[in-house]
Symmetry: C2
Subunit: 424 residues, 2 copies
């Protein structure tokens, strides 16, 4: 793919530490005061208005019958066109932005029509999510949770290394970066109480995750192999799976998390395509015991994506780093997750979101939740102002960032940033 | 509501045991060889083509700006208009079908345009389902399961009487009556094996449930009280929550059922409105211990709906009754379920489906699943041909039916009928 060539450069000036280099070109949905919601592609500090490109006949050579797929409030209709079109569009935009291409570079009016400053735009949900599944694929996270709540000697449940454990989450409450969340209320059962009590959660937590989005559908009753799975994946976003640990502890038996999770999940608004992440493939961990044949995957199934979480507490001027993890730590890769999800014939839809589960690394500074970072509140985080955090407070802002970097090329996700508002 | 008056009669002849009396008027989506998918209302053996009513100006007096909401492949856009419109439409259709109304009765051409024989139509999914939640609200079912898998002396988990336990299910694989299901494959762990094996489920089961459908949306961060909840509910359908018990037993810890459920759920195609069920309200069971204030509901929160399940085995000419239960057995009612679901701010959407969980009654012949009817396979069902059933076989057909009856008026759901195809 020419668009991934490290040697190409844009006529747009891009800072070296910017997430949106020419080799990235992530897709999202934006609006401005004079542009209604539509498809955009991030480049440096700008957004390419993809619909405007079609209106100025810059996509005429592509196999797109209906250019209004770029003039929609979600990416779904564009994604439904399939991988060959995703590639054509990304390659063409790459070409238009390259420093040797004069089509927009030398046309001030076109530039004005087709480029919007990111600071003038509002990013919206990139996709309409028909189904959302959350996996549990980090071995360090599952081990930490099992150690805390069950038995450190047998932290992983018997099924964990045989299948990518997952469960269904709530699609309706997935929101984009910038939208605040409200501290949820619910039932909890204090250890010393006879009956549950009702009130705001006292153990609000983030979970550092990455989600992939499917851009193609399957028919109910059919399955995808691990080799086919990837052809259905459009791209990835950062995913903060907000959790209320005290609500979860009381409600989750026997059918799993429910109100402890479904009050909100936050995502980064730019979908980084699987194509753009191609150079950052790495081998996953060795899987022992051997997995069943339908889950086998050889080759580089993981991606080296650095993931960071910061906390900005009210009254503190600077955000502080509280977690540095990596997507490559996942035990189960995307292909395995999707093959497992469909092995019983479950169908997938365009826009579905499949989150990884909390991505913790092997070291305590790489744990992807407050639950693990403070070891269930027993080791509070110390803040620069002398206060501490066991779980999250009202007014706290959690920001997750992610990027891959290799051969001097950075492909980043931007951020998902969320402020916590007090309970109503 | 005049439409519920037991004394009204239609100019259409309707057999007394028919589910679709004039007092019912359930909504669905149908198509025929010459009518594309659109909204219909069942009456006797016929379907009223609601879009045709609007085209013939029979809805002109209603507050409907855009009659094409009835010319859509789902009820969602009609439902989004809200309860006053749902009522206007049902009342107007009732009026048009009453024996004292000549508008259609005395106009052969109109009759031909507006009525379709059910046998000439195909029923489709009535709604596009953005979110699907499954509750676990039958105390007999939860007690049976707890007795079988945990401890008969402490069958209910500590949270069960304090909150309506629920979990998220898969929206994409909900299918209408008539669509067959494919026996799913997956991982199971035989008791005597060291490692899991892969293959078709050996413990395929049905679950007798009823689901309500929301016709209005809420904003993320807001909650519904038990009194408000009902205003958001459009109607109910029969719901068969297919389950693979052996897959479930291996996968479900710690995050709940996943592939054991998401291969398919089947629903009856006619949505019986909450308005039509109004005469069949009954008091729910006494809740002890007292529930938290946000879950309190006084008044007749349950509905007396007789529920029947039959099995037709290959080679047997007659279907046999295997379960007779009732919706009124639910410990938690719809209003409590929806108030609980939203108490943390989780938003609901138009078309969401909320299933009850398996509805078992207190007696063994009222258990709503094979798991309970055969007590985990230890008491197989004896079939007339001398064979037996622990769980379901390929070629078996499960049919669920439901109806309410009072003062000589029957309001029925029709059926959800599903054949099991062998695994591929």
């Amino acid at each position: 793919m020419k668009a991934n060539d490290p040697s190409i450069h844009s006529w747009i000036q891009i800072a070296p530490d910017c997430d949106f280099q020419l080799q990235n070109l992530p897709f999202g949905i934006f609006q401005t005061v004079d542009r209604d919601p539509r498809v955009g592609v991030a480049i440096g500090d700008y957004i390419v208005d993809v619909y405007a490109l079609t209106q100025h006949r810059l996509f005429d050579m592509l196999d797109i019958d209906d250019p209004t797929v770029f003039h929609r409030p979600y990416l779904n209709d564009f994604m439904a066109l399939g991988r060959p079109i995703w590639r054509q569009v990304r390659e063409r935009i790459s070409e238009l932005l390259r420093n040797d291409n004069p089509e927009i570079r030398d046309n001030r009016e076109l530039m004005y029509e087709c480029l919007v400053k990111q600071k003038d735009a509002q990013m919206l949900m990139p996709v309409k999510v028909p189904n959302y599944t959350d996996f549990y694929s980090s071995i360090d996270h599952a081990t930490n949770v099992g150690s805390m709540f069950r038995d450190p000697a047998n932290a992983l449940l018997p099924n964990w290394k045989h299948l990518p454990v997952g469960y269904h989450g709530r699609a309706s409450s997935i929101i984009p970066s910038g939208a605040p969340i409200r501290r949820p209320k619910g039932q909890t059962k204090p250890a010393d109480a006879d009956a549950p009590v009702f009130g705001p959660t006292k153990q609000l937590d983030f979970e550092l995750e990455v989600a992939f989005i499917t851009g193609q559908a399957t028919v109910l009753g059919t399955s995808l192999t691990t080799l086919e799975a990837e052809e259905y994946i459009f791209g990835l976003v950062l995913f903060n799976d907000w959790s209320a640990r005290d609500i979860q502890a009381w409600e989750y038996v026997p059918l799993g998390p429910f109100l402890a999770k479904n009050f909100a999940s936050s995502i980064s608004p730019w979908v980084v395509t699987l194509d753009a992440l191609e150079p950052f493939r790495v081998l996953g961990p060795k899987q022992d015991p051997k997995v069943l044949p339908y889950l086998e995957y050889s080759g580089d199934g993981n991606f080296d994506i650095q993931l960071d979480v910061t906390l900005q507490a009210p009254g503190l001027e600077q955000e502080i780093s509280i977690c540095r993890s990596n997507y490559k730590y996942l035990y189960w890769n995307m292909n395995q997750q999707l093959a497992h999800h469909t092995v019983n014939g479950c169908n997938i839809e365009v826009g579905d979101m499949y989150a990884s589960g909390t991505i913790s690394g092997p070291t305590p500074d790489s744990y992807g939740s407050m639950l693990e970072l403070t070891w269930r509140g027993t080791k509070p985080l110390q803040l620069p102002d002398g206060t501490e955090r066991k779980f999250l407070h009202d007014g706290d802002i959690i920001t997750m960032r992610g990027y891959a970097e290799k051969n001097g090329i950075r492909v980043g996700f931007g951020e998902v940033r969320t402020e916590i508002m007090r309970a109503l």
